[in-house]
């Protein structure tokens, strides 16, 4: 193993409401949904109609511009509805689940001997392909690309995130099988980064991949940060990334021939009760996990973590890539300026700024709500983002280039290396409340349209 890469700039956001390391079975959701919106910039082409019977692993829709990529159902059941939004855009495909699952048969007879194109078609046919994302752009990978390497982050450093050492414990075989398949896709091989080089045996003992050691605060676990420090992406290069838990799903499918997208979802956040890891399937309804587990009213339910997740209600469905649900109080109340508003003493309020006393107790776990704590302003304070942005990239200048649709400068300043999630901390600590994740996403969209 190579030397430990030390991330110095960053911030561990210590929040109240960690999930216990206990696994519970979530009740089977009545409806499971795959939301095309989870796959950024993908246009779905429906394969099924309302009323069709499907099995777990049956194709629901395909990527309209790459008809080889299948998006499949998590469960067996009946297609209940295809929810459309503005301009008839498909928002969600709902499958009413049968009591038990029947599975599509996936041919795994020669999985061990596949070449690159064989591995690609195996992943695309079986509906596993969407787990592979690409950098730049942070969208589902394009099969025709020749990636420089494949990166897997072996830990999640975001607030209250599930611990992979726990969720992947005992999945040694599945994880290894996943790596073996991914290894066929790129000549550059598979890179796996572990926190301080140590981890559960399932990850630590993985073979056929290069293991890196990374230490430091969030966003050390962001795969973009790891790529930047191991082998930065230049213009024209492409890297694929897969979430460690999804590697195990890929592996399990390759071993069993059945598509079983199991998720261990961590229920976290100050307002969540029975904070445990719930075993369920991708696309489950949020309600099947949070029902009866919410404390009080007026809460924000987040599919994912507080930095990058999506705002949902208990009628919505778990995001495709998410393995965490966070519940925190809404902050939709006025705060009097001297008591708990902008000029209060502010004990116990989360802030990285020394203008609040909270920095004195670094290990304290904070209660937070969703109040914006101010209004959006122009950039005034400088060298703020740099404190939590461990790239050799000038973050404010890049955000400004993105705001002004300046493709030339975005390219020069390193847009190819970043994803919106890398700017989540910048957004969190911004005095001027600039929506940098959204700006970067729009910048990437423009790059995708004009340059890729």
């Amino acid at each position: 193993m190579s030397k430990t890469i030390k991330i110095r700039r960053g911030l561990d956001v210590n929040l109240l409401g960690e999930a216990e390391k206990v696994i519970a079975d979530a009740k089977r959701s009545q409806i499971y949904a795959i939301n095309p919106a989870d796959f950024h910039n993908m246009t779905p082409k429906m394969v099924v109609k309302v009323g069709d019977k499907v099995k777990a692993g049956s194709v629901l829709f395909k990527d309209k511009y790459n008809m080889d990529i299948n998006y499949v159902s998590s469960v067996a059941g009946t297609v209940k509805d295809i929810v459309r939004g503005e301009k008839r855009r498909i928002l969600s495909v709902l499958v009413e689940a049968d009591a038990t699952d029947e599975y599509e048969n996936i041919d795994i007879s020669n999985v061990g001997n596949l070449d690159a194109s064989g591995a690609k078609s195996f992943l695309m046919n079986s509906g596993l392909w969407p787990f592979i994302k690409m950098r730049p752009l942070d969208v589902v990978a394009r099969p025709e690309d020749e990636p420089k390497a494949i990166f897997i982050s072996g830990f999640d450093s975001s607030p209250l995130a599930p611990d992979y050492d726990f969720t992947l414990h005992g999945k040694d075989k599945e994880f290894q099988a996943g790596i073996d398949i991914l290894n066929k896709l790129s000549k550059g091989g598979v890179h796996l980064s572990l926190r301080n080089g140590n981890s559960d045996p399932a990850l630590k003992n993985a073979k056929n991949c290069k293991i890196h050691s990374i230490s430091g605060p969030h966003p050390a676990g962001n795969v973009g940060v790891q790529i930047h420090h191991i082998s930065p992406i230049n213009k024209g290069e492409i890297v694929w990334t897969v979430n460690a838990q999804d590697v195990a799903i890929i592996g399990a499918t390759a071993l069993t021939g059945k598509y079983i997208p199991t998720r261990l979802v961590a229920l976290t956040g100050e307002k969540a009760k029975n904070r445990k890891h719930y075993r369920t399937l991708i696309g489950t309804s949020i309600g099947s996990i949070v029902e009866g587990n919410i404390e009080g009213e007026n809460n924000r339910i987040i599919s994912g973590n507080v930095l990058t997740g999506g705002k949902v209600t208990s009628e919505d469905y778990l995001g495709f890539y998410h393995s965490q649900i966070t519940i925190i109080p809404e902050g939709n109340e006025f705060k009097f300026f001297l008591s708990n508003g902008w000029l209060g003493l502010g004990f116990g309020r989360f802030s990285i700024s020394h203008a609040y006393p909270s920095w004195i107790s670094k290990s304290k776990k904070f209660k937070v709500d969703t109040n914006l704590n101010g209004e959006e302003r122009a950039f005034v304070v400088s060298e703020e983002y740099e404190k939590v942005f461990p790239f050799d990239i000038l973050p404010v200048q890049l955000v400004k280039a993105a705001i002004t649709d300046d493709i030339d400068n975005m390219e020069k300043l390193g847009i190819y290396e970043v994803a919106p999630e890398d700017f989540a901390l910048c957004e969190l600590i911004c005095t001027s409340k600039i929506q940098s994740q959204e700006h970067i996403r729009k910048g990437l969209d423009l790059i995708q349209k004009e340059c890729m």
Binding site: L307, F334, W342, D369, T370, L372, A378, E386, Q435
Partner: protein
């Protein structure tokens, strides 16, 4: 709280009733958001946000200015009574100073915020907080006897030309408060520099004293009303006018420097006696410059808040403690000034250059500029490396203009303004270096 909240809710409700009144939304909104942090929640991106906002940041800068302000008030009174030759208590000094300074603050805020409100209503955006700091900085860098209408005009100029034409808070290129000062400095130099501006009431004192002297010299009767005038040097000591020149230490030193230069010319023409008397005169003027300890604590005439290096350093300690001002800019500004002052000190040749470099930096507005002006994040360089260059340029130019330029006895204002103008170029260089690094990686890869 509930009661206050209802008032604002009512006001918003009434404003929203008709299209005509809707545009006055920023007026109510500004007050509302001042009293209540709004109930806005995150809708996109990160769901939680840091508790810090621009209002708190700005308010902390104002807090940091309080030592300068309070000491400034005291100092105004101190020099006023000193010029009158009267003894006064600390409280007398402070109260007199407050009476002189508070109107300037009031005018600065009223005019500046007025302009901000007009632009907010016209452009339909909410009022941003930038002027909260500028409005306090402007009075602190004005001579105490500046006419209030000038403060008003300068503030309008600074806010409109310095900021709003560029798009408001966060968009300006040069420091707002210094724009106001520079405007007056060039438009009304007699009210901004010289011997008659730094001590409250000194102009009237000088005029009245001169009148009495003239009447007495001509053997005429002096009207009692003139003798009773409060604006009068203590007539018992007729020399007061000479004793209290009203110039700042820097003014005295610049005069001394000029005398030495004249002396050098005289010497080259072989006029030895003229040379000697000029040198003597120069030394005499230079000796009026205050000592290091006085200028450190701030017991000298000058702009309202700038005289005390100690008060400025208290502010600096606070700003660095809360992490709002950049230590990089402050340190490099100090080093920039120190290196130029050191250079002139090594060169020597006249009393101005021969001031100990540290002593030199304590004079005038250098320390105040270092803490509150050059550190303005909007007009400073934004990049980490850029900040070192930016600060150094500001400090070096400030002292260079102060010591090298015969026209202005103080150069810190101009030094900082020039550094402001250079900041985007400095940033551009730093950004280009970063871009180059990435390009190089592409080539080697």
């Amino acid at each position: 709280m509930k009661f206050l909240r209802n008032i604002f809710d009512n006001a918003h409700h009434k404003l929203n009733k008709s299209e005509k009144t809707k545009k006055y939304f920023p007026l109510v909104d500004a007050l509302d958001t001042l009293v209540f942090t709004p109930n806005h929640t995150t809708q996109k991106g990160a769901h939680i946000r840091d508790a810090i906002d621009l209002k708190r940041t700005m308010m902390f800068v104002i807090l940091a200015m309080i030592p300068c302000l309070l000491f400034g008030m005291y100092n105004v009174g101190h020099w006023h009574y000193n010029a009158l030759g009267e003894t006064s208590t600390l409280l007398d000094n402070f109260l007199y100073g407050a009476l002189k300074v508070i109107p300037i603050i009031a005018v600065s805020y009223a005019v500046g915020l007025g302009v901000e409100f007009i632009f907010a209503i016209k452009n339909g955006h909410s009022v941003q907080e930038g002027f909260l700091v500028s409005g306090m900085l402007i009075p602190l860098i004005m001579p105490v006897d500046v006419p209030l209408w000038m403060v008003g005009v300068a503030t309008i100029f600074a806010v409109v030309i310095g900021k709003e034409v560029f798009g408001g808070t966060g968009m300006n290129i040069i420091n707002i408060a210094l724009t106001a000062r520079a405007f007056l400095f060039f438009a009304h130099p007699t009210s901004m520099t010289g011997d008659n501006t730094w001590i409250a009431g000194i102009k009237g004192m000088k005029e009245n004293t001169a009148k009495i002297k003239e009447l007495a010299d001509n053997g005429k009767e002096i009207p009692q009303s003139l003798l009773d005038s409060p604006q009068l040097f203590n007539y018992g000591t007729a020399d007061s006018v000479d004793v209290v020149s009203g110039a700042t230490s820097l003014g005295d030193l610049a005069t001394a420097k000029a005398k030495y230069e004249e002396a050098a010319v005289a010497l080259s023409k072989g006029k030895d006696d003229v040379f000697k008397s000029l040198i003597e005169e120069g030394d005499k003027v230079a000796s009026k410059a205050v000592s290091l300890s006085d200028t450190f604590w701030g017991i000298e005439p000058g702009s309202v808040g700038e005289t005390s290096a100690f008060a400025a350093l208290l502010g600096a300690a606070f700003l660095l403690w809360v992490g709002i001002a950049s230590w990089k800019v402050m340190t490099s500004f100090f080093l920039g000034g120190l290196s130029i002052a050191g250079l002139f000190y090594a060169m020597g040749g006249n009393p101005f250059y021969e001031v100990d470099p540290i002593h030199q930096l304590m004079y005038g507005g250098f320390m105040f500029g270092m803490v509150f002006m050059i550190t303005d994040p909007v007009t400073a360089a934004q990049t980490s490396t850029g900040k070192f260059f930016y600060g150094f340029i500001g400090g070096a130019l400030g002292i260079l203009i102060r010591m090298g330029n015969p026209a202005y006895p103080e150069g810190v204002m101009l030094g900082i303004l020039i550094a402001n103008v250079c900041a985007p170029t400095i940033d551009h260089m730093v950004i280009r270096a970063n871009v180059k690094r990435r390009m190089k990686r592409l080539k080697t890869a």
